[in-house]
């Protein structure tokens, strides 16, 4: 792409890169990796809908927006801790405001034995060498624009390690607050004000590296919240590695500002006998993209994914899940539910590949979706590619409406239509989190879900 064709989006981020003083700058390999990723991002720009992975998510409007190069006051901006309190989650916490680590809001004293938890900005001040492999990654595919951008501009994030055989009982809380950058936000921002980009739109980028040693156990909560209405762009790239026999349970609660753009890219690698269960609840954001790539790399590794999105207004949420079975007797089980109301749009792609030699794999994927309005849209696409023998695989995808008979049944007992719809919709989603054994947190997710459904 020639200079003349650069979109305002690319231009503004290029300016941001020129001004940024990122943690870790001066480390030769890191500078080089950042530069190369920035060049790749600028050259390719944002993908268009001809790129298969972006078929249902157009980035043209985003390409016309400009973002300020980060929040100078992020380190001191007042944020009410109540915005990110979660019942059942009172262990160690790292809090980031507009992508900047906030020691004053975090809880990192008295970490349990075997847990090492640090902001990336701090880790880069010490021996950065252990981070080299993850941070010098190159993203080649056309669709990886945001991963490149993140690699070029991220200076903070989470570095979390659990020592072999350490079992961390208390969930670790990772909080990402998108905070309005200009004073207090109006209580009821006019829709027109949200539709137009302004100088206070910020871009922030966080990069996480998580490793569970052999036999380690961890429960992790990733939490995106808003402090005041804003239309920031957040990008996040997470690498998670589970060594032999390690167990991870992760809950992601995405409750970002209604005007924001949030792009997350997760890579999860499971070695022998490792097990991961990932719960995802997508509620917030205007434009949200989540790439979840998991590799069952070791024999007998198991992955469960459980996800729900509940959309309204003009929200657009796109989940792209790719699971690769590449070892013997591996199992993956994925259950996703989507609800779209008003003019919102949900996209779910679940691609499962059983690689050659991954005999005895067991893969199942269910994506069921509910349209609550005639103008909402959900595109779901399960894909299954099998190159191995003795494989058990099942997948199903549906998009439908609420069952009229059930609605009438509830109404015939006196429950008004809106309430009946909310009740049935919640029931449709609720089963997804039934296996989450943190009762307080599960109930909280339930309440959040109910609060996002159309109700009386």
């Amino acid at each position: 792409m020639s200079e003349a064709q650069r979109t305002p989006f690319v231009e503004s981020l290029l300016e941001a890169a020129a001004q940024a003083e990122l943690p870790g700058s001066g480390i030769g390999w890191l500078d080089a990796a950042r530069r190369e990723n920035l060049d790749a991002f600028v050259t390719a720009g944002l993908p268009d809908t001809r790129v298969e992975a972006w078929k249902y998510t157009a980035l043209r409007a985003l390409g016309q927006r400009r973002f300020a190069p980060g929040d100078e006051q992020a380190a001191t901006r007042a944020v009410d801790a109540a915005t990110f309190m979660l019942p059942g989650v009172d262990g160690p916490a790292l809090v980031f405001v507009n992508g900047v680590f906030r020691a004053d809001l975090s809880r990192v004293d008295a970490l349990p034995t075997g847990l090492s938890l640090q902001p990336l900005s701090q880790a880069l001040k010490g021996d950065a060498e252990p981070l080299r492999f993850a941070l010098s990654r190159h993203y080649r595919e056309g669709g990886d624009a945001f991963a490149r951008l993140n690699a070029a501009l991220s200076g903070d994030g989470v570095v979390l390690r659990v020592a072999p055989n350490a079992k961390v009982a208390q969930p670790v809380h990772l909080v990402f607050v998108g905070a309005a950058a200009e004073g207090a936000a109006p209580a009821h921002p006019a829709p027109a004000a949200l539709a137009h980009p302004c100088a206070s739109d910020l871009a922030w980028h966080v990069r996480h590296i998580v490793e569970l040693g052999e036999g380690a156990e961890l429960s992790l909560v990733e939490h995106h919240v808003a402090s005041g209405e804003q239309q920031h762009l957040g990008t996040q790239v997470t690498d998670i590695v589970l060594r032999k026999g390690a167990r991870l349970r992760q809950v992601t609660l995405q409750n970002a500002s209604a005007g924001s753009t949030l792009v997350r890219h997760d890579s999860v690698q499971l070695d022998e006998d490792a097990q991961a269960t990932l719960y995802v609840l997508e509620l917030g954001g205007a434009l949200v993209r989540h790439d979840l790539h998991a590799t069952l790399a070791g024999d007998r590794s198991r992955l469960e994914t459980r996800g729900v999105f509940v959309l309204n207004g003009r929200q657009h949420v796109d989940t792209q899940m790719a699971i690769r079975h590449q070892a013997l007797n591996t199992a993956s089980d994925s259950v996703w539910r989507g609800v779209a109301d008003q003019r919102s749009r949900g996209v779910f792609r679940g691609a499962i590949v059983v690689a050659e030699g991954a005999d005895g794999s067991d893969a199942s994927l269910s994506s069921k979706n509910l349209l609550l309005s005639g103008q909402a849209e959900i595109d779901t696409k399960p894909e299954l590619e099998i190159y191995a023998d003795e494989v058990k695989a099942a997948h199903g995808a549906t998009v439908g409406q609420l069952d009229e008979r059930s609605l009438f049944y509830l109404r015939s007992r006196g429950i008004p239509l809106v309430e009946a719809r909310a009740m049935l919709t919640a029931a449709f989603c609720r089963a997804v989190f039934a296996s989450l054994d943190n009762d307080a947190l599960r109930e909280h997710l339930d309440h959040q879900l109910m609060a996002h459904l159309p109700s009386a």
Binding site: D403, E404, R405, S406, F408, Y409, L410, R411, S412, R413, G414, I415, P416, L417, E419, A420, M423, L424, A426, A427, F428, R430, A431
Partner: protein
């Protein structure tokens, strides 16, 4: 209480009810019998407000209010209850939660105070005793995995909690063995009172051995063609529905 006059209704463009007239007063139990296709279930559905039923003529008033102008939930709040022929299974919605939401929604619509969970639990315990239902049923999702008998008993249990003024039982006996039938009938009888009217829709006389009606009406081709006391049901049992058709040559083509 319930006044149906010259009711005409159609489903999917087909006329089903063709001039039905019936009055139910408080305390009365009316049985509506009739062959398949006579319009029995249509009557229940029209009265409870299910979509897809078009009333083309006639009127239905309930305690002076135009029932047909009300939404299903408003009819429920006004005191109309339909026990379904096929109760719907609703996975993910807890039976107790559902019932409390229903009762409180009705109370809200009537301008009454909602019951808190303690008051509700007390009420439920009382009703469970009357219905002889185990409270295990309450902890499950609405009708999910219930046997045919459990589903019907759950309908009657809901009726006991919601305390309607008019209860419509739509072929409540269908698919029940004799023990389940007796249990359901027992529940219904426990709810009979001077203030409550019943419309018992059934194909077979059998149910009426256990729920004794004050009036029996024969529905054929969308109209009530014969009315009498409980002995009419026995006559029907003996002679079959053809007997009614024979009495009214205009119907001979319509009976099943």
């Amino acid at each position: 209480m319930l006044k149906i006059e010259n009711l005409h209704a159609r489903v999917e463009g087909k006329d089903i009810l063709k001039g039905l007239t019936l009055t139910v007063n408080p305390g009365e139990v009316h049985a509506i019998m009739g062959p398949n296709g006579a319009g029995k279930s249509t009557l229940g559905n029209v009265l409870s407000g299910r979509d897809g039923y078009e009333v083309t003529a006639g009127s239905v008033t309930f305690n002076g209010v135009d029932l047909l102008a009300l939404e299903p939930e408003e009819r429920a709040a006004a005191g109309v209850f339909l026990a379904f022929q096929y109760p719907v299974e609703i996975p993910g919605v807890n039976n107790t939660y559902f019932l409390r939401a229903a009762l409180n929604a009705q109370r809200r619509q009537r301008g009454e105070k909602e019951l808190d969970s303690m008051q509700f639990l007390k009420l439920v315990r009382e009703k469970l005793k009357i219905m002889q239902i185990s409270d295990e049923l309450l902890h499950r999702a609405v009708n999910e995995g219930f046997s045919g008998g459990e589903k019907k008993r759950n309908e009657i249990f809901q009726m006991a909690v919601l305390e309607p003024k008019l209860a419509i039982l739509d072929e409540t006996d269908s698919g029940l063995d004799i023990d389940a039938l007796k249990q359901v009938a027992q529940g219904v009888n426990a709810l009979r009172s001077a203030e409550r009217g019943f419309l018992v829709i059934t194909h077979y006389q059998r149910l009426l051995d256990y729920i004794e009606p004050d009036f029996v009406h024969v529905l054929a081709d969308g109209r009530i063609v014969e009315s009498g006391d409980k002995t009419l049901a026995l006559k029907l049992e003996e002679h079959g529905y053809a007997w009614v058709a024979d009495k009214d040559p205009a119907l001979s083509g319509a009976s099943a």
